[in-house]
């Protein structure tokens, strides 16, 4: 079994969908999470606040220095993540396709490295 990170991508500063559409998205995403759980592939998922709520820490000359804002300023942001545990990429792509339909946004699929153990 292998773990894949499914990231929800959306344009930074874009306008939110109207409330009715947003409600539909939310209920579709929750339904999909239940489907993932009953298929026993779900590891974790969660939505993220906007990137400007982020704080970056750097190790500099023995000290930890903080900066306000995201590490990478980008036109696209990660709006949320889901981790699935499945046999191979095709299975991950199948779930990612369902997630893209539910969120109506692009989904990036990225494999985790194997555990060293």
């Amino acid at each position: 079994m292998k773990q894949y990170l499914l990231s929800v991508c959306y344009p930074a500063g874009g306008s939110q969908p109207p409330p009715a559409a947003l409600n539909k998205i939310m209920s579709d995403v929750i339904a999909l999470q239940r489907e993932m759980q009953s298929a026993d592939v779900w590891v974790f998922s969660g939505g993220l606040h906007a990137a400007n709520s982020a704080t970056v820490l750097r190790h500099q000359n023995g000290d930890i220095v903080l900066t306000d804002g995201p590490f990478i300023e980008s036109k696209e942001q990660i709006g949320g993540i889901t981790i699935v545990r499945v046999p191979d990429l095709d299975a991950a792509l199948l779930w990612a396709g369902k997630l893209a339909r539910a969120t109506t946004t692009p989904i990036e699929v990225r494999p985790f490295m194997e555990h060293p153990s």
Binding site: K2, L89, V109
Partner: protein
């Protein structure tokens, strides 16, 4: 290669083992003679080399597991080899890989072309292509792209990706996009070889037959397409140079497709080329039938390029003025053939100045030297009329 990849689960590892086996064969066969079953000998030797390496790297647990599986390689039956071949094709043409990576992997691992040969065919530096290949192989390994034939539900879509890769290879050979040659025959030959392989592996899918028929029917005109290094249009070609045996093979495949009655984009394009092939001269081409086939193609796979080709048939059936109206509504500003078709239609209705500027637009968007020469000749001949 395909057998070992299944057992090892790692394309690069299998490749190295096979390469070692070939090196040993080159050293031994000239003096010891060729073994009774060369393929079996190579598989066994590659397997032993892989086992040696697994013992050396015994700390790697996943490869220890593979060592057990390797013992089964010798028991691989003929139909397993066939299935392994198919698995490797679907892995190479996986839609999660970039199209150029799919093409390079297919030519390298299925076609068996060397990195240098592929680089030469695509006018790339061997180092660039080697990097592209190793990146693709790393993704297959890291993302765990499965090594298997897709299930029935996904098969048609995934097969389309495989057919598209083979047709891309053929087209790059037949209408070379850049450089100084009209044709790169080694790519056409390789694509046809791959097409034949797909027909043996997946004979039940009509589009597989359609693709092979299409490539054969086009490739049959290869020798007539170039004269003295220059490009020759279909209407100007010396039809006695057409390869009748390739045409016949293509027609026979089309007859099988017709009895199945499950048309697709490759079968329809093959049918269009078969009509050209049946015409004793350009003037006696059955354009009405070609137009009907393009109408069908537009209904199942509409695209601007198909619309452009359909307009060429419309010009023959309903006249250049009518076709020009259709062409003007198509949006393909970067495609040199769009401007070339438009220029030819303008010339035919006497708008010479407009035709000349259309030829210049075609030239601006064309990178193949022979095609450029052809367009320049066409443009110059305007002035003489």
């Amino acid at each position: 290669m395909a057998v070992l990849t299944r057992f090892l689960g790692d394309i690069s590892f299998a490749e190295e083992a096979v390469q070692e086996a070939f090196t040993i064969a080159l050293a031994k066969w000239p003096s010891n003679g060729i073994p009774p079953s060369p393929a079996g000998w190579l598989i066994t030797t590659a397997r032993n080399k892989a086992l040696d390496r697994l013992r050396r790297e015994a700390s790697r647990s996943e490869r220890q597991h593979a060592a057990q599986l390797l013992n089964d390689v010798e028991q691989a039956e003929e139909h397993d080899v066939r299935d392994d071949h198919l698995r490797l094709i679907f892995t190479c043409c996986h839609p999660a890989l970039a199209p150029d990576a799919q093409v390079a992997l297919t030519l390298r691992l299925i076609g068996g072309l060397s990195t240098e040969e592929i680089a030469h065919a695509f006018l790339l530096q061997p180092a660039t292509l080697a990097q592209r290949l190793s990146r693709a192989k790393a993704k297959i390994r890291d993302a765990n792209i499965p090594y298997r034939v897709p299930e029935a539900a996904e098969l048609p879509a995934r097969l389309q990706a495989v057919l598209a890769v083979v047709y891309l290879i053929f087209n790059e050979g037949y209408s070379t996009s850049s450089g100084g040659e009209v044709l790169r025959t080694e790519l056409c030959d390789e694509a046809i070889r791959l097409g034949r392989l797909l027909v043996t592996l997946i004979p039940q899918e009509s589009e597989t037959l359609g693709l092979l028929a299409l490539m054969l029917l086009i490739d049959a005109r290869r020798d007539a397409r170039v004269a003295g290094g220059d490009l020759v249009l279909l209407s100007e070609q010396d039809r006695t140079l057409w390869d009748e045996s390739k045409m016949d093979e293509g027609r026979a495949l089309m007859r099988v497709c017709l009895t199945r009655n499950r048309p697709g984009i490759y079968q329809l394009q093959a049918a269009i080329n078969a009509v050209h092939g049946d015409a004793p001269s350009a003037a006696r081409t059955d354009w009405q039938q070609i137009l009907e086939l393009y109408d069908q193609l537009m209904s199942i796979a509409p695209s601007a390029v198909v619309a452009l080709n359909r307009a060429v048939a419309v010009a023959e059936v309903h006249g250049a003025a009518h076709a020009l109206q259709l062409v003007d509504a198509i949006d393909l500003p970067k495609y040199h053939l769009y401007h070339a078709v438009r220029a030819d239609l303008l010339r035919r209705i006497g708008r010479t100045a407009d035709a000349a500027s259309a030829y210049r637009l075609a030239l601006d968007n064309c990178e193949n030297k022979r095609e450029r020469d052809f367009l320049i000749r066409q443009c110059q001949s305007l002035a003489r009329h």
